[in-house]
C-alpha cells in the first residue's frame, strides 16, 4: 500500500492517534483471521474425511471442526505452560 508522504504530512496529531489505534486493531483482526485460515485448513483435513455430497457440514463434522479448534487452543496453552516451566526452572 502506498500513501504519499505529502498526504501523511496533512494528518494532525488527533488523526495520527486514531490511525494508530485503527492499525493496531486491524493488525489483531488480521492475526485472528490468519489463524482461522490455518486452523480451517488443518481441521478440514482431520474432520472432512468422507466424500463430499452436500454443500453443508453435517452435525458430526461441525462438532469435529469446533472440537478441533478447542483442542488446538488446549495444545497451545499446554505448550506455553511447559515452555514457561522450562525457562523458569532451567530443566
Amino acid at each position: 500500500m502506498d500513501i504519499p508522504q505529502a498526504d501523511l504530512d496533512l494528518l494532525n496529531e488527533k488523526a495520527k492517534t486514531e490511525l494508530r489505534t485503527f492499525i493496531s486493531n486491524e493488525t489483531q483482526r488480521q492475526r485472528i483471521q490468519g489463524l482461522t485460515h490455518a486452523l480451517t485448513d488443518s481441521c478440514w483435513k482431520k474432520c472432512i474425511t468422507s466424500n463430499i455430497k452436500t454443500n453443508q457440514l453435517d452435525k458430526s463434522e461441525a462438532v469435529c471442526m469446533s472440537d478441533c479448534v478447542e483442542r488446538f487452543m488446549d495444545v497451545n496453552l499446554a505448550i506455553m505452560n511447559h515452555v514457561q516451566k522450562l525457562t523458569r526452572g532451567g530443566k
Partner: protein, 87 residues
C-alpha cells in the same frame, strides 16, 4: 479548521484503503485454501477432463469449506474471549 477537515479526509481514505486491502488478502487466502482442499477432496485421481461429478463436488466443497471457516472463526473467537475473561 480547513486543515482539520483535510486531516480527517486523509485519515478516512487511509482507513478505507487498509480495509479494502485486508479484505482482498482475506479473500485471496480463502480462495487458495479452498482450491487446495477441494482439489484434494474432489479430484483424487485427475483424469483427462473434469467430470460432472467432480464439478458438482467442487461447488459443494466450496460452500462447505466456507461453512467450516465460519465454524472455526466463531469457535476461535469464543475461546479467545473466554480466555481473556479468565485472566
Amino acid at each position: 479548521m480547513s486543515s482539520d477537515s483535510t486531516s480527517e479526509t486523509v485519515k478516512q481514505s487511509i482507513i478505507k484503503q487498509v480495509l479494502i486491502e485486508s479484505q482482498q488478502a482475506n479473500a485471496r487466502t480463502l480462495m487458495e485454501k479452498i482450491g487446495e482442499n477441494c482439489f484434494a477432496s474432489c479430484v483424487p485421481k485427475p483424469g483427462s477432463s473434469l467430470s460432472s461429478r467432480e464439478k458438482t463436488c467442487v461447488t459443494q466443497c466450496t460452500e462447505k469449506y466456507m461453512a467450516a471457516w465460519n465454524v472455526v472463526n466463531s469457535t476461535y473467537l469464543r475461546r479467545i474471549q473466554q480466555e481473556m475473561g479468565n485472566q
